[in-house]
Symmetry: C2
Subunit: 330 residues, 2 copies
Amino acid sequence: MTEARFDVVGIGNAIVDILAQADDVFLSKHDAPKGTMIWVDENQSEAMYNDVGPAVEASGGSAANTMAGIASFGGKPAFIGKIKDDQLGKTFAHDIRAVGVHFVSQALTEGLATARCIILVTPDAQRTMFTYLGASGSLHADDMDDDLITDSQILYIEGYQWDLPETKKAIISACETAANAGRKVALTLSDPFVVERHRNDLFELVNRYVDIVFANELEITTLFSANSFDEAIEALDGRVDIAALTRGADGAVTVTKDTLVQTPALPQGKIIDTTGAGDLYAAGFLYGYTHGEDLKTCATLGALAAGEVISHMGARPEISLKDLAIKFGH
Amino acid sequence: MTEARFDVVGIGNAIVDILAQADDVFLSKHDAPKGTMIWVDENQSEAMYNDVGPAVEASGGSAANTMAGIASFGGKPAFIGKIKDDQLGKTFAHDIRAVGVHFVSQALTEGLATARCIILVTPDAQRTMFTYLGASGSLHADDMDDDLITDSQILYIEGYQWDLPETKKAIISACETAANAGRKVALTLSDPFVVERHRNDLFELVNRYVDIVFANELEITTLFSANSFDEAIEALDGRVDIAALTRGADGAVTVTKDTLVQTPALPQGKIIDTTGAGDLYAAGFLYGYTHGEDLKTCATLGALAAGEVISHMGARPEISLKDLAIKFGH
């Protein structure tokens, strides 16, 4: 690859997470399918907040978590996302910069507040998310920094953005910029319901721009309307260079046109909260990929990062992933 | 004791904690003696925030943590403290109410922002705190709810408040109200430097109003200008009904005029962050005391609550202390 200032530039929601514990009865009461993400408006977010127990606030956002993970490995990530200049916006900007992610997007000075995501963690360590998008939903064409995209080895985008018509258009143009500069495009499918809602669009995106796709079992089978995981793998059929597919405790499968590499999950201690597992898998994988590692090593770094983040509350690493990788001989 | 609507009413700082990891070099750079609390102004707080790594926000405040702990045991606590109606103020009010603490203090609508405390956790699990007091410093005589104090078995106060002349006066009048209603007064000495700064005042307070004093080894020896812990215990000499003294990993000593009960520390897993250890010790002890338990049981409940809170980041329990107590046969 041509030299680049950044390893990866991520585009995604700039969100602060509000983490609370809840049980299955609470989820049923709120008609929330466990393990998924639900969009809520400001009133619904407020009502949910009033109903949940004591909470902890920590910066989140899927692609933002991935960029924070890449920084923790010692990589050079950048992030494009929209905050307001309010308290939560300051928190988001501080945390992503403090960990070493290049983040210069202009904050809104008026209008919608910084996005927040109420994450309910059930005793089985699963997370169910209620996202109020606020300022983050106003990411438009003007925010796409062509120089940044051109100067990053990989452009990394979220499927979540496909619920936002304007943002989606801006991101497709960012994909065009990356492709013209000879850069790679990576996509995470984000959530099975997102894939269900935008199957045709995402399918076209994958065919046209995406070099590396990240998905879990349910997301990839939904994308191809497949009846099984094996059927989904067959359907991939060289459409992307690499499909990095995760299967929770069963580990991951990395698929290219000619190869299929299976790797185990690497939990680091008791599983407390699965929030950020997919985001950090992508972080480890992309760090490895942009540093010339083979696919098995990329997948192993992904499993280590995911294994760390599920061992505690919150979606960002609590220890240096660089040190963790060294400890495991990488 | 006469029937009361509440077990304990706490008066203290209404603070949101900003928890970040740091090393000893960072503490030296900021001239911060490890394990203590330092007051900072808004600019210093801002500068420190810009200098620390990624952080997590969670409600805190010493007496507030203690009240949250009592609620987690299934007790009936109330809290008096001052927030502003800003984002952090909402966070504080939500968290303390969500856990079941009665909190009705009027929020400021203008002026200083809600208090925050930057807590640096070093790899040895010790915490060093930088408190910007903001709105919390404006707790005055008007905020002392006489009905609430009269209707609580115990009034619980923080030594930290002695740095605030107006608040200190208001709290002394609250002690008077409690004493006149035949209620008990409990005090935590909070911090060795606080004791050093206000030794005479706190000594007088202890002699005049305090029935139960909570302190660690360094705080109690500082109060009595003693040369050793044993000398401090001798100096107690029946000045208070109960001295609940903690010694970190060496457990606790409960002293009355006639008895001295030693109890071990009860860490629940690896020690991650000692923030809130003293606050939660007081929670367990006071829950036991207001529910008619003997001193050894009070101390054991304190040790269990402290043992839980040091097993994770943050100063409030992550699990039900009631369940934990039941698991240990209480």
